[in-house]
């Protein structure tokens, strides 16, 4: 029986939004699926060299973010608040035995997840192919469409 297939478009580059694509991709691979992640726009930040574990989360405009004390939006906008929120989130993840983004990315590559970087957004944002981690292919919408048309699961995140 041919493996089921899944594609995921990873379009966000914040710490919280980097998790779902990588969790689902590694899990899909562990469940014998052929998985492709297409990194576009801010999702490219996940696969920039040395950047996976430097992603941040912003408390601004994110009322659901658990903070020790409720903070008004104007305070959330202050310098340093992003670092506070990011540090807090990472501590919570670590405490609960959650893998880091870097670990999940390595596990994804190890388990054969195909990584594609969107060449167009790289050009727009001035990202060079040499800025991206090894093992990533470079392509555009048609490449994703080709794989997506044969996949049972396609997600935009």
């Amino acid at each position: 029986m041919a493996n089921k297939k899944m594609t995921i478009i990873a379009s966000k580059g914040s710490l919280d939004m980097a998790y779902p694509p990588l969790i689902l991709a590694t899990t899909g691979a562990a469940m014998d699926m052929d998985v492709t992640i297409f990194f576009t726009f801010f999702g490219l930040d996940i696969i920039k060299k040395g950047n996976a574990d430097s992603l941040k989360i912003s408390p601004l405009g994110n009322p659901a973010l658990p903070m020790p004390v409720p903070i008004p939006s104007l305070v959330a906008a202050l310098p340093g608040m992003e670092a506070v929120a990011t540090g807090m989130m990472k501590t919570m993840f670590k405490k609960h035995g959650v893998a880091t983004i870097g670990q999940l990315l390595a596990l994804a590559q190890e388990s054969g997840v195909k990584l594609i970087a969107c060449q167009m957004t790289m050009d727009v944002m001035g990202v060079k192919q040499s800025d991206i981690i090894d093992g990533v292919e470079f392509a555009g919408a048609a490449a994703w469409m080709d794989i997506a048309a044969e996949s049972q699961v396609n997600l935009f995140i």
Binding site: I23, T26, T27, A30, M31, D32, G97, V98, A99, S111
Partner: protein, 79 residues
């Protein structure tokens, strides 16, 4: 069913989703057909996750034990 012969043990206690599944997959891949992996987890979601994983990969959960926040799975590699 109480005396299952275990070939390999995986301690996934303290790990959160998706690590118990990823580690289980890796450990099962390293086994031969019909060998049994014992996996211990503390992730409450792993009870359903492990069943879904086994169903999808065709491996068999011979037994699942639950006790004081720990889940123990006995998984037989079927291929």
């Amino acid at each position: 069913m109480s005396d299952i012969k275990v070939d390999q043990v995986l301690d996934a206690k303290g790990m959160s989703c998706p690590l118990p599944i990823l580690k289980t997959k890796k450990a099962v891949d390293a086994l031969s057909k019909d060998q049994v992996l014992k996996v211990e987890t503390t992730d409450a979601g792993s009870k359903n996750d492990m069943a879904s994983w086994a169903k999808r990969t065709g491996n068999e959960i011979l037994k699942m034990e639950e006790g004081s926040g720990t889940f123990t799975f006995y998984i037989k590699k079927t291929t």
